[in-house]
Amino acid sequence: MYGALWRVLPGPAWFRVILLLVLAAAVVYVCFTWLFPEIAPYMPFNETTIEEGA
């Protein structure tokens, strides 16, 4: 999977490394901005309120 990604990327090795770092940063950004805030409410440790049926 990652071997295939490495082969698909263009340019010399140092350029591919930079591309991979940029890709990793993009993945972290997407996770922090959209993915994690979406799934956090379903986590069992974020409840702080008192409510009926909790």
């Binding site: 990652y2 996770c31 922090f32 956090a40 409410p41 986590m43 974020n46 702080t48 008192i50 409510e51």
Partner: protein, 265 residues
């Protein structure tokens, strides 16, 4: 002779008729289907592990970074509002007549700030209306249960806030002990409550935020405050409850409570 040597060399084992040396033997290009599948599954599992680690980093660290920034910004904006009185740095007269009540807006609107001298002279967190996760609690605010009374009103001013992550306003709630002050700063008054007790309850015990805490259906005569948050730390199995009773209020035109004057505040 030299030529003979070369001829001999030319007939060394890497010639087609001899056995090829190990280095130049061609690697098998195709892995078995199963081996390839195992490789991909392994890489997916490593990826999942890294993503889970990232989630922990986000939850425990980044949400605090974001919420602390937002708390500071919201407090700054709140202080600049025209209707928020800037109290002089002197002790104001303690009054026990009915205090002025804050105005309530929509969920997420900041209506007051919470000061808890036990947690530091600079402990100051915005109190917003409502206890929704997205609009209030995950913003790093202390939330006001919408069906409970306002600060200063006869009944129970019940609040909730995160114990960990998202700014965690109530992280150190266990350090607040009986006799400590809980000061609610509204636009025009400081309302000083005194802690009367703490309790650990099941998350469904809604009676703790009743107008008379613990006695639902009973008509209130006192002005109470209730802090609720999750317990134990990093769990939501129970709730930590801290109760307080109203003592006095100070007009912000007159001054501040003595506790907030220490160390220059």
């Amino acid at each position: 002779m030299a030529t003979t040597d070369v001829d001999q060399l030319a007939e060394m084992p890497w010639q087609p008729d001899g056995e090829p040396p190990r280095r130049t033997r061609q690697r098998p290009r195709k892995r078995g289907f199963l081996a390839g599948l195992v490789g991909v599954v392994g890489e997916l599992m490593i990826t999942a592990g890294v993503l889970l680690g990232l989630f922990v980093v986000w939850q425990l660290w980044w949400t605090d970074v974001e919420a602390h920034g937002r708390q500071a910004q919201v407090l700054e904006e709140w202080d600049k509002q025209e209707n928020v009185i800037d109290a002089p740095a002197q002790e104001g007269e303690r009054r026990t007549d009915p205090p002025p009540l804050p105005q309530v807006g929509a969920e997420g609107d900041v209506m007051a700030t919470m000061r808890i001298p036990r947690l530091g002279v600079d402990y100051r967190v915005p109190i917003a209306h409502g206890v929704g996760l997205g609009n209030v609690l995950n913003q790093g605010y202390i939330g006001h249960y919408p069906d409970t009374q306002l600060p200063g009103e006869v009944g129970n001013f019940a609040t909730a806030a995160h114990r960990q992550s998202y700014g965690a306003p109530y992280r150190e709630i266990e350090q607040i002990v009986v006799g400590d002050s809980l000061i609610v700063e509204t636009t025009d008054a400081y309302l000083v409550y005194q802690v009367t007790g703490t309790e650990i309850v099941h998350p469904s015990q809604v009676e703790v935020i009743a107008p008379v805490p613990g006695e639902p259906g009973v008509a209130p005569t006192e002005r109470m405050i209730t802090l609720t948050t999750c317990h134990p730390l990093f769990s939501a199995a129970e709730r930590w409850i801290t109760y307080g009773e109203f003592q006095y209020w100070i007009d912000k035109n007159e001054g501040k409570p003595a506790e907030l004057l220490e160390e220059g505040r």
